[in-house]
């Protein structure tokens, strides 16, 4: 298969690689370079300023707030989302009533239905979901407060997105709502491939469901959980959190910078404030946080691979 091999390889790789290098790799390299300049983005002129942007960043109170919120997103969202998803997936696959003569471990009735419904938010654009919930959270006429009034909780009418102490949690709840279904389906597929004999053996040994879950299901599912964890963290630091914060919160990023996240701050500095160089500096910090997050999760989660 040597004839014309290299011509073929070059011919096939040139366009995809060229496009990728021009629109993805090159901008990344430029970004890191620009973070050492005073480029505004408005004019082509700029000078090298060394580490000035980085010194400024470390003294920038809003940067620290955005970092804190981003870290909170990266820690809380995967824990809550994956925890809920594991719980639901376990209920769907193992929570069923034992039928006479049937297998020891069964899924609940209608498990297919639950999986279809839970997956709904995953196919919708996060922008649409964010808009929808921005209305639902509206303190006067939104669906949530009006529901609370409807069940007699007139005293409980939070400002939701308008309350600096609450806004960030409201935004996170939307991300949980929209991503849990994906992980339920993912983990269900993993649980379905665990052999039933293992469950039977566990039951014969007298393990209850909780023990079965922590000693059997979770360890066998660990690889999937771990990659889901990294995937969710990257989403929570990147595009998804940008969309929800930018669309839902006042400011955006408010009230009083209580919801600003790094990815939004990069966007605002570059395209609102005309401080492109400083924006790339925050972007580099975001890159460091993202890579560190992935490395820590992979490292902490390392364990022997189980074959079954």
């Amino acid at each position: 298969m040597q004839h014309g091999k290299y011509r073929f390889i070059v011919g096939f790789l040139a366009i995809p690689l060229g496009l990728y290098a021009l629109f993805v790799i090159w901008p990344f390299i430029q970004s890191i370079y620009y973070s050492f300049t005073d480029w505004t983005g408005l004019s082509p002129e700029f000078e090298m300023v060394g580490f000035d942007n980085y010194t400024r960043m470390f003294q920038d109170e809003i940067f620290w707030k955005s970092l804190e919120h981003s870290l909170l997103f990266a820690l809380v969202l995967p824990v809550v989302t994956i925890g809920l998803a594991l719980f639901f997936a376990f209920m769907i696959n193992v929570g069923g009533r034992r039928r006479r003569g049937g297998p020891v471990i069964t899924g609940v009735r209608g498990s297919a239905f639950y999986k279809i419904v839970y997956f709904f938010p995953q196919v919708l654009s996060i922008a649409i979901v964010a808009l929808l919930f921005a209305f639902a959270y509206n303190p006067d006429s939104g669906a949530i407060n009006s529901l609370l009034r409807g069940v007699g909780l007139d005293g409980l009418q939070p400002l939701w997105l308008g309350d600096p102490d609450l806004a960030l949690w409201c935004v996170m709840a939307v991300l949980v709502w929209s991503t849990v279904g994906f992980f339920v389906v993912l983990f269900s597929a993993g649980m379905a491939s665990i052999p039933a004999e293992l469950y039977e053996a566990a039951l014969l040994d007298g393990a209850d469901r909780v023990t079965t879950f922590f000693r059997l299901t979770l360890p066998l599912l660990w690889d999937t959980v771990q990659s889901g964890w990294v995937y969710m963290g990257i989403l929570a630091l990147g595009a998804e959190s940008f969309a929800v914060v930018q669309i839902m919160t006042t400011g955006p990023g408010g009230p009083d910078y209580s919801t600003t996240v790094m990815v939004l701050y990069v966007y605002q500095k570059a395209f609102r404030d005309g401080q492109a160089a400083y924006a790339t500096t925050i972007g580099v910090a975001l890159l460091v946080v993202t890579l560190a997050f992935a490395a820590i999760v992979m490292r902490l989660g390392r364990r022997e691979r189980l074959e079954f």
């Binding site: 366009i15 808009l131 006429s141 595009a239």
Partner: protein, 307 residues
């Protein structure tokens, strides 16, 4: 997560004494009872979450048929009559029709481009040995974990200098470039699983490398192309961040930005019912397509994470 430290991963026979269990024999009664309680409990929890997922969506559909005063006055009341005029207003006056058209154009172009270019690159990387193969592969795959926003600041000016800012074809090229990492990652793995003998036979019969690829390998890779195609379709159809930065011309807006734009401007115009109609209009086709192609969509979206 406390489970990271759990020492014994497998319930290895006698090694897992469970304190409260009477190990002296089968316990049909308690087991049955536990199963029953768990069954009620699990159904309860599962139904609550199902309601929490469906309720906001149904609420949006219902609201899109109401008039403005009842949207604000009584968010949960049923519409007094079905205000279909909300929908026609959204389609024409609020230019939802244009946004749909723009989105269809962009996604049609970028999805085709992503699949063609992605499978070409993946095939070469999966099947041919050459210096730099690994490096190029990791260059592509590395793109999956980098925060896109970092690249977007200079990318804006790259695209601007090429005269591609606020154009449909510019957006298509950028979508393709940012879809390549996952597509190449997924399809490289897929091409590796395909048998080599068929391609070799074709080659012996005198087919060129590119003919072997287009006429033999691509048809064989169809299941993989469908999975990754669905994944990219949803990602590109729902894309928000890239167009927000690179596509600010009101006439060229895609669906997601158009809706957000609409929501901002409704603050002045006050046509909330039209906005809800627009929201539902954007939601329904994707949900309908999902329900029809449910199995393929789930396979396509979860395939990557399972690898």
């Amino acid at each position: 997560m406390t489970t990271t430290e759990s020492p014994a991963p497998l319930p290895a026979g006698p090694g897992t004494p469970v304190a409260k269990t009477d190990a002296s024999g089968p316990r049909p009664r308690t087991a049955k009872k536990e199963g029953g309680v768990l069954n009620v409990f699990s159904h309860g929890v599962l139904i609550i979450w199902a309601v929490m997922v469906v309720l906001p969506l149904l609420w949006a559909v219902m609201t899109s048929f109401k008039d403005d005063s009842s949207i604000f006055g009584s968010p949960w009341s049923l519409p007094d009559r079905l205000h279909f005029d909300n929908w026609s207003r959204a389609w024409t006056q609020a230019s939802m029709g244009d946004y749909f058209l723009n989105t269809i154009l962009v996604v049609a172009g970028s999805l085709t481009g992503t699949l063609v270019l992605g499978s070409m690159a993946a095939y070469v990387l999966a099947r041919f040995d050459f210096p730099g193969n690994r490096f190029i592969y990791f260059l592509f795959v590395g793109g999956m974990s980098f925060p896109i926003m970092l690249a977007l600041v200079p990318l804006f000016y790259v695209v601007n200098n090429m005269g591609l800012l606020n154009t449909i074809h510019g957006l298509i090229l950028v979508y393709i470039a940012y879809s390549l990492p996952f597509t190449v990652f997924f399809l490289t793995a897929f091409f590796r699983t395909l048998p080599t003998s068929v391609a070799e036979a074709a080659f012996v019969d005198g087919a060129s490398h590119s003919r072997t690829f287009f006429q033999i390998m691509l048809p064989m890779a169809k299941p993989g192309l469908i999975s990754v195609g669905i994944f990219n379709f949803l990602g590109q159809w729902n894309q928000y961040m890239l167009p927000t930065v690179l596509n600010t011309d009101p006439d060229k807006k895609v669906l997601t930005q158009g809706l957000v734009q609409l929501a901002v401007s409704q603050g002045y115009k006050g046509d909330w019912s039209g906005l809800f109609a627009g929201l539902v209009m954007a939601m329904l086709p994707v949900l309908a397509a999902y329900i029809v192609f449910q199995r393929q969509v789930v396979a396509g979206l979860t395939a990557g994470a399972l690898k």
